[in-house]
């Protein structure tokens, strides 16, 4: 039986809902898919006996055994390449990075091999592989463990890049990513693994490339992805108290990008703020700003604002970290400025 495809939790009826955390949504997605298809396996550091560094694979070793839930040494380049080779040979690997901070020693394998193997061979190979793990910043982890690297991956044709924000989206999009025949880079977030939300008990998938309106509004559009969606929602809640109606767009996937959802919203509100955890220079948010400014310039009542983390590595001290990392107190003044500006 085909799994039902759904786009948004807001339009769902007929499902039995319950509240679960993101880590459990991810585990359910992987486990359901692994029950369905014996070619899927999970490989990464601590995914087996330890149940995952963030407990996203809790109990999976017991259910699927060591053949399919594979603990690796700390050798990201090696096991990432092994996953890619296995995918070229017809398996469907899920490669877990404990965090994407550690993916850079494997990034050559992802950008220069996984993303290009299909094109270079003129379509002779499929690359059904998912690279997943925690992306973005947590708190007080210091500069080397605090990076928003999704832009590196989103830059590269041949990859799909997914960065959801809620348990519902995480589960539905991870299942789609696992079923996809292309390499998918799937960003989670250390700070939201415990975040709970409504998820159907029944199986469902969410298609890649469809953005979601997390809150409807008419005065301004806030565009973000991953953990920053929650910052956007906090800002929108504050604005609501002042009678300002902000629409929050969760891109959910950066490649493919749902440009139409952005254009539809901004054409309605005429003001847009892009909120990202990345630094601004050469960033994905800058590309979104460019798209809006060039494609629907006539719709804009104010320049597109881009809120990013400051141009510095992330510091350890909580005395200064909030001045570097994108957060509500940095975003709100930019939203107010955009509301007050005119072209």
């Amino acid at each position: 039986m085909d799994t039902p495809t759904v786009n948004s939790i807001f339009t769902q009826t007929g499902f039995k809902m319950r509240e679960i955390a993101i880590r459990d949504a991810l585990k359910e997605a992987m486990s359901e898919e692994m029950r369905r298809d014996g070619n899927i396996f999970l490989m990464g550091e601590e995914v087996g006996s330890y149940n995952g560094a963030y407990k996203c694979s809790k109990g999976m070793l017991d259910e699927f055994g060591a053949k399919r839930v594979i603990d690796t040494p700390i050798a990201e380049c090696g096991f990432t390449g092994i996953g890619i080779g296995a995918a070229m040979a017809g398996l469907r690997p899920i490669i877990e990075f404990m965090t994407f901070n550690f993916s850079l020693v494997a990034i050559d394998q992802i950008l220069n091999t996984a993303a290009k193997a299909r094109y270079m061979s003129a379509g002779q190979f499929k690359l059904p592989i998912v690279f997943r793990g925690a992306g973005g910043a947590a708190y007080q982890l210091g500069a080397q463990h605090t990076n928003s690297f999704e832009g590196f991956y989103a830059y590269t044709p041949g990859l799909y890049v997914v960065a959801p924000s809620t348990p519902f989206d995480m589960k539905g999009l991870l299942k789609s990513s696992i079923r996809d025949d292309n390499p998918v880079v799937f960003f989670e977030s250390e700070l939201t693994y415990s975040m709970k939300g409504q998820v159907p008990e029944e199986e469902y998938v969410i298609p890649l490339g469809v953005a979601d309106i997390k809150k409807e509004g008419k005065d301004i559009t806030l565009i973000s992805w991953s953990k920053m969606v929650h910052v956007a929602l906090e800002c929108a809640a504050d604005l609501e108290k002042e009678g300002i109606s902000a629409e929050v767009i969760d891109l959910r996937t950066l490649r493919p990008l749902d440009t139409q959802a952005i254009f539809n919203s901004v054409s309605k509100t005429h003001r847009a703020v892009v909120i990202q955890e990345m630094h601004a220079v050469s960033s994905y948010g800058a590309y979104i700003s460019h798209l809006i400014s060039s494609e629907i310039m006539d719709e804009l009542d104010a320049p597109v604002a881009l809120v990013s983390s400051a141009e510095a590595p992330f510091p350890y001290s909580k005395g200064i970290e909030p001045y570097i990392m994108t957060n509500k107190s940095l975003v709100m003044p930019r939203i107010r400025a955009t509301l007050n500006q005119t072209i």
Partner: protein
């Protein structure tokens, strides 16, 4: 050894030699662009190794990939057309010299980042073991690859997980223009296997029969016991690193000395001693006709259509 096998090995090595000599000519005529890394001098390694493989086995190699492609059964036509960037090429002109592929032959590329393809071969071996389909992966690499992290990670994981894979270092003594003594603290590259630990072997890469027996032992070990092997095949490339490299870091005398051990000439002498001169002449004529046909085929073939430029980015 039966004569048909000997003649087949000779035919395959000669095909590679003549294919690449013609490719070099076309490169100087600017009909081939980019980089062109020639295998001339190393033919016995690819031909000998691949001659002992089964159809289900996987072959992964670096950017000096024409030889292994042809040895596996890739056609001169599809290879030459790929070099000319034509749609009839083995990657429809998207790969070029460094990125030959033929999925139907399990010829898995043709990779351009030094050492990065070793984990891929381990992954194919992993898939074979996972499914139990009894395939072995063989991975060719240059001596320039042995200091890369990917080399060590692939070897460590292959041993840790008992993967059916054979790594063949084609030691031609130069990492581009840098001689081996500047890049490795030993002249026995196979001993790197000991650290993991992995079975190892060293073989004379000019001797197609020695290569065959060495690879056969390693492939059997992989297929029957899921044990990987690291092999150092000592060989020599006659040309520069690529067509852009005049190779001035080696003396003419050194290159001429190496040519005295030419693998094709050696096998030819052996065939002559067996009274197969007529066969040699016949094969030489056939290969000549085949290569000329391939060049004409490639030149007559169209480029990929502009409207297909974005095809195959995604499945």
């Amino acid at each position: 050894m039966d004569h048909e096998l000997l003649l087949d090995l000779y035919r395959k090595m000669l095909r590679i030699r003549r294919f690449e000599e013609e490719a070099a000519r076309l490169y100087t005529e600017r009909k081939i662009g980019g980089f062109l890394h020639l295998y001339i001098g190393q033919e016995a390694v690819g031909v000998g190794a691949i001659s002992v493989l089964e159809p289900q086995d996987y072959i992964v190699t670096a950017y000096r990939c024409h030889g292994q492609y042809l040895a596996r059964g890739g056609t001169s036509r599809a290879g030459m057309a790929e070099l000319l960037g034509k749609v009839t090429g083995c990657a429809q002109g998207r790969g070029g010299s460094m990125h030959f592929y033929d999925a139907s032959l399990n010829f898995m590329g043709g990779w351009g980042i030094v050492g990065a393809h070793l984990p891929l071969a381990a992954g194919m071996a992993f898939a074979s073991k996972y499914r139990g389909d009894n395939a072995v992966a063989i991975c060719f690499l240059g001596d320039g690859a042995i200091n890369q992290g990917a080399f060590h990670e692939a070897l460590a994981l292959s041993t840790l997980w008992n993967l059916p894979v054979v790594y063949v270092i084609e030691n031609n003594y130069f990492a581009m223009g840098t001689p081996l003594y500047k890049t490795a603290a030993t002249d026995d590259l196979s001993i790197r296997a000991l650290a993991y630990p992995m079975a190892r072997d060293v073989v004379d890469g000019h001797d197609v029969f020695a290569v065959r027996s060495c690879i056969h032992a390693a492939v059997s070990r992989a297929r029957e016991q899921n044990l990987p092997t690291l092999i150092e095949a000592r060989t020599y490339r006659y040309r520069g690193h690529s067509m852009a490299d005049p190779g001035t870091y080696r003396s003419k005398e050194e290159v001429e000395e190496q040519k005295q051990r030419d693998p094709i000439k050696s096998l030819g002498d052996k065939l002559a001693a067996l009274g197969l001169n007529l066969k040699i002449t016949q094969i030489t004529d056939e290969i000549e006709a085949e290569i000329q046909d391939a060049v004409k085929f490639a030149e007559d073939s169209p480029y990929p259509a502009p409207e297909t430029a974005l095809d195959h980015v995604y499945a």
